[in-house]
């Protein structure tokens, strides 16, 4: 089966600012893929090219078998894609039901209005005016508008920005439900926790190029990376007293090792023999955050000015 989205060598400049320099990735049917990166990395521009809002300067892009830059097929493509933008964009004076019913009228084969209201959790609020909804409820309405056309592919541009933690959990849960219902989802986020919670695969962008791609657990090779053992140096000891080589970091001692089991054995044996406590002892793999910071720092050379995407 071909992919829902295929992008390669994508380029887009605004004047002298290279927003997207070389972006390539695929999204399989039924997959959730996150475009992750700092502001100005090119996430939104990439998404907007795929949505047909912007023309590309170079490269190829295919969405559900269509070229998103091709005007003659734009309407057919819009029948099959849904999107939720960064900003809440709904008219204030209509009710929830009216807002969704209006959008439903634009599609050949929309989902049922009541069904979508239930899906996004707005049941009971059908007759409420949009302007009296809370921010979170408006966001749900926004999502309902993205789903009403019964799309095969849904774009979510920073779907939980500004959410409180509980609302964010709910939104994540909903995204998983949508995928379970067969939807393919391409989302952008600058939140690593979100990428980790939602995405089957993450495409890490920085400075308009893809700096890493893969499953969140393996991104940047972090599953195979060295473990970090850190603890507070016992009073009266110097790093030279330790049985393994180490370096100081943030008032702690850090041991980086490919063989954490042996290193821990040596360390704890040494501590017991000398009756030392290893205060604050932790063992960890590099977090997605570490990988993110590492890769986005390297990937964004100083001479490439970033266009802030809002």
């Amino acid at each position: 089966m071909p992919n829902a989205v295929e992008v390669s060598g994508l380029r887009k400049s605004y004047g002298r600012v290279h927003a997207v320099r070389d972006v390539g990735f695929t999204v399989g049917y039924g997959e959730i893929v996150a475009l992750l990166g700092p502001n100005g990395a090119g996430k939104t521009t990439t998404l907007e090219i795929l949505e047909g809002f912007r023309t590309r300067d170079g490269g190829t892009a295919e969405v559900l078998g269509y070229d998103p830059g091709e005007r003659s097929s734009a309407r057919e493509l819009r029948e099959r894609t849904g999107l939720v933008l960064q900003d809440i964009a709904v008219e204030p004076y209509l009710t929830v039901r009216e807002t969704i019913a209006r959008a439903a009228g634009y599609y050949q084969a929309p989902r049922g209005v009541a069904e979508v209201i239930g899906l996004v959790g707005l049941t009971g609020l059908e007759r409420r005016k949009v302007r009296s909804l809370s921010g979170g409820q408006k966001r749900r309405l926004d999502l309902a508008l993205g789903l009403i056309g019964n799309p095969a592919l849904l774009y979510l541009d920073e779907p939980t920005t500004g959410f409180d933690p509980a609302a964010r959990r709910d939104a994540w849960h909903l995204v998983h439900e949508l995928r379970a219902a067969g939807l393919t989802i391409l989302l952008t986020t600058h939140d690593m926790e979100e990428a980790q919670a939602l995405a089957d695969r993450v495409v890490l962008l920085s400075g308009g190029v893809v700096v890493a791609a893969g499953e969140p657990a393996a991104l940047g090779g972090r599953d195979a990376d060295r473990a970090r053992i850190s603890f507070r140096l016992p009073a009266g000891c110097t790093p030279a007293d330790l049985p393994v080589s180490s370096h100081p970091a943030n008032g702690m001692v850090v041991v980086e090792t490919d063989t954490p089991v042996q290193a821990l054995h040596q360390l704890t044996g040494w501590a017991i023999r000398h009756d030392h406590a290893l205060a604050g002892l932790t063992v960890e793999r590099p977090s997605l955050e570490d990988v993110y910071l590492e890769l986005t720092r390297e990937g964004a050379p100083a001479e490439a000015p970033e266009r802030t995407t809002r």
């Binding site: 605004y14 949505e51 047909g52 809002f53 912007r54 023309t55 309407r75 057919e76 819009r78 029948e79 894609t81 849904g82 999107l83 933008l85 900003d87 809440i88 964009a89 709904v90 008219e91 204030p92 004076y93 209509l94 009216e98 019913a101 209006r102 959008a103 439903a104 009228g105 634009y106 599609y107 050949q108 084969a109 929309p110 049922g112 209005v113 009541a114 005016k129 508008l145 056309g149």
Partner: protein, 268 residues
């Protein structure tokens, strides 16, 4: 309203062959709904022209025909010009401001992402504006009647002028919304262009300068005033010369609108 309700009713079920007319009715229904629900737009669009006619009636109510008003009574003069003003407000003014605001809020972008064709969106807006204009004119004529202004006789010419005027001023409104980039500036820019034009076109006071009348005759507002005053007060039919000038301005607006209109809040 039956068409609109039918369109409303079909929204939920899977549509088969969808006709353009139904799509248009669907669009107009929801434009009307948003419009009537917004107290501000409804009040400004309908109360202001009526109040204006009432004030003029209080000032000039008893006076008869005078040469100052071109051989008409004061209210005979003001009913069509205020009628024209209300059409300007509900077409040009409304669209320039509302479209700039909708673009800034991302509502236009959102609509662009649906399969709704652009023509249907704009035709829906136009039909909505024509409907609002018709209600406005009816209110103004009724108010004028209370002050003894005779009912117009050439309804066909009035309808023709009204539709052409509404279309032209809608096009100009979309054109203005296309060239201004932020919604905060939209009302100011729209009024800045309109206000002097209204004055020199005799909307508020009859203009006695032949030169000014000739200049204003080539601008969009005076031809519309004149084209409405004829069938309203002078019992003449459609004024083709004035309608042609109006249509030409509409065409200019349409060209600018088609070339410059943006759905996206941010420039490419």
């Amino acid at each position: 309203m039956t068409i609109a309700i039918a369109a409303h009713g079909r929204a939920g079920r899977p549509a088969g062959q969808r006709s353009s007319l139904r799509l248009l009715a669907h669009q107009v229904f929801y434009e009307q709904l948003s419009f009537w629900r917004n107290p501000q737009s409804a009040v400004f669009t309908f109360i202001f022209p009526v109040v204006f006619v009432v004030i003029m009636g209080a000032l000039f109510g008893g006076s008869g025909k005078s040469s100052y008003f071109g051989g008409l009574s004061a209210l005979q003069y003001y009913v069509p010009t205020i009628g024209a003003l209300s059409v300007l407000g509900s077409c040009y003014g409304q669209l320039a401001v509302a479209l700039a605001a909708r673009r800034q809020a991302g509502i236009l972008k959102r609509i662009r992402a649906t399969p709704l064709p652009a023509w249907a969106y704009f035709a829906g807006l136009l039909a909505h504006c024509v409907l609002v204009s018709v209600v406005d004119i009816a209110l103004i004529v009724t108010t004028g009647r209370l002050y003894g202004v005779p009912l117009p006789t050439h309804w066909l010419a009035i309808m023709l002028t009204l539709v052409l005027g509404a279309a032209s001023f809608c096009a100009l409104g979309v054109a203005v919304a296309s060239v201004i980039s932020n919604a905060e500036a939209a009302p100011a820019v729209a009024q800045l262009v309109l206000f002097p034009l209204l004055f020199i076109s005799g909307t508020y006071l009859p203009i006695q300068s032949a030169l000014l009348n000739r200049v204003a005759g080539w601008l969009p507002v005076r031809p519309f005033n004149e084209a409405l005053t004829g069938p309203f007060a002078r019992h003449t039919g459609a004024d083709w010369r004035d309608l042609a000038v109006l249509a030409a301005w509409g065409a200019v607006g349409a060209v600018v609108a088609v070339r410059r209109f943006r759905w996206d809040p941010r420039p490419e």
